[in-house]
């Protein structure tokens, strides 16, 4: 029996007859929450969001310190391989995002906001521009919103194909018209020294949309969804060798990895078996079929005990994924069946990271390139078994030595693939030489 989806963010997506214009959005209750919010005190909105336990879906969440944000930025630069939820929201329900942004800006008395969208979404950018125009015409955006005296402008800003702009400080540099070199934290936390060196809120698409649902349900009710410390819903994107790839929304932790793959996505294509799963975007450490994980779990009497879990039984939440040494990350699940070559899959990802490293820090710039060269050499059978160790060594010397998390993002896949599929890598490495 498949677990039922809980659609908040994806409520309107793919509903027959639903269109992405403002009339359709309003007909379906759109901008009602904004009307309600704008009659509230900004502190009350912030209090509701706090009560909801909403965690940033990649963003920093609402500021809790005494900084007064000047700007708000929506990070719509979703480029993590395996993740494809933003495209759906932007193309099919853009007003949900705009409404979420307006409410978030009002709650923080922000007067100027930017929506940074990846350059590869030209159509998405046009749709959002039109959505903003429609909202302006209805006095939901611009000067004196709904007669309250509150002014807000939102501008759509297109990136130009660089993955690193998804890193919030890289995004800010890019928005300032520079190369997207991430800034070092501390001191450059966006909430303190963000855009134009002013306090800035940066949140991703899913988080900003969630603000609407928090206010609609009330923070306390929202916090009952999901698990404590992991509240709300999560959009999971499944791709690779499953029968029904796609995007699905569930309460956080409502289902296991096995239920997601077999019950929701119809299992593996052509009756094959799972070989490996990347559970949270391409940077997450790979999980191997047949692995047994020992995790600490709270028992009914409140004591902690070690529990053994098969890969299929892992619940899809932030904390468990971290406990088994990977991460829920962006919610992008990539499934590889038993026929797939692990060296080939890793070489593909390493080429991605070599191309996307911004080049600012030496360990990452040089290391990502070497990992690409070594993985393609291994894939082609033109290496030696020794090179597998060299590859692992390169990866081990990047993480923790860079300004931003890209260093981890590019070395985690290498470390996990090579460790878990060591035999396969060593066998394939010298294949070509023998012939």
């Amino acid at each position: 029996m498949a677990i039922a989806e809980k659609r908040l963010i994806l409520k309107n997506i793919d509903v027959a007859g639903y269109t992405n214009d403002i009339e359709c959005y309003i007909k379906n209750g759109g901008y009602e929450v904004l009307r309600k919010a704008i009659a509230m005190k900004p502190q009350e909105i912030v209090a509701e969001v706090k009560a909801s336990g909403l965690r940033g879906r990649g963003g920093a969440g609402f500021p809790t310190k005494n900084t007064k944000p000047v700007y708000l930025i929506c990070n719509a630069d979703e480029s993590e391989p395996g993740t494809f939820k933003d495209r759906q929201i932007i193309h099919k329900d853009p007003h949900q995002l705009i409404e979420g942004m307006i409410i978030s800006c009002f709650a923080n008395n922000v007067k100027l906001a930017y929506l940074y969208i990846r350059g590869e979404f030209p159509e998405g950018a046009r749709i959002l521009e039109r959505a903003c125009d429609e909202a302006r015409q209805k006095n939901l955006l611009g000067k004196n919103i709904l007669g309250t005296g509150y002014d807000l402008e939102i501008y759509i800003h297109r990136g130009a194909g660089a993955y690193i702009c998804g890193e919030e400080t890289g995004l800010i540099e890019s928005l300032e018209g520079k190369r997207a070199y991430p800034r070092i934290k501390p001191p450059y936390f966006p909430a303190v020294l963000g855009l134009y060196m002013s306090p800035t809120i940066v949140n991703n698409v899913e988080t900003l949309c969630n603000v609407i649902h928090v206010l609609q349900m009330g923070g306390a009710n929202f916090s009952k969804l999901g698990k404590p410390n992991n509240t709300g819903t999560r959009v999971l994107c499944v791709s690779g060798d499953v029968v029904k790839p796609g995007y699905y929304e569930f309460e956080v932790g409502a289902l296991t990895l096995g239920q997601l793959i077999y019950d929701v996505c119809g299992g593996i294509r052509d009756g094959k078996k799972i070989k490996a799963i990347i559970p949270g975007g391409s940077s997450a450490k790979v999980l191997k079929a047949g692995e047994i994980y020992k995790i600490k779990q709270k028992q009914a009497d409140g004591s902690m005990a070690d529990v053994e879990m098969r890969l299929e039984d892992i619940p899809m939440d932030f904390d468990t994924m971290a406990a088994i040494g990977s991460m829920a990350g962006s919610g992008g699940v990539i499934v590889m069946d038993e026929t797939r070559s692990m060296p080939e899959c890793l070489a593909n990802l390493s080429e991605f990271y070599a191309h996307e490293s911004c080049g600012q820090c030496t360990p990452c710039r040089e290391g990502s390139l070497w990992m690409k060269k070594l993985t393609s050499r291994i894939r082609d059978g033109k290496a030696s078994a020794n090179d597998v160790g060299v590859l692992k060594n390169v990866a081990d010397n990047i993480a923790g030595r860079t300004i931003c998390a890209f260093g981890e993002a590019c070395s985690w896949p290498v470390q996990s693939f090579v460790t878990k599929f060591k035999d396969e890598f060593e066998t394939v490495a010298g294949n070509g030489a023998k012939k």
Partner: protein, 165 residues
Amino acid sequence: MSCEVKISKEFEAKVDEVITHYPVSKRSASLPLLHLWQEQFGYVSNQAVEWIAAKLDLQPINVYELVTFYPMFRQHPAGKIQFKVCRTLSCALAGGYELFDHLKTNCKIEGDGHHGPAVSADGKYSIEFVECLASCGTGPVLMVNEDFYENVSNDKANELVKKYG
């Protein structure tokens, strides 16, 4: 390649309007202006770099370093019909490499096309591998100019070549 283009009043008006989106710092308009230029004139020439720099009170190097950093900007013309095929893992698992090779042969394009367009001899088509286009569940995917297509089989690719050709 250094033939100067004439800048129309309409283009300049569009540029001036975009600059108003950045009341705190004009420099922020660099990427939008590069996009506008490339959409209008096909690629970012030396003239573009100098014109945009002057418009935003910047040094040309401030603009040029963006052109060499951001993958979407090109310094040479691409084909009239541009294919951008997603290269990254989920699309690769779904046949992205096969699709790329098929299109390349079909449009008689020489060259590698990894991150930077390879153009056919007659300048009609160009193809390039790009990184994740964020539609991993419907691979393989590609863009033709600014239009996006998913689940692209070889047959569908042939139809696209005909449709745009």
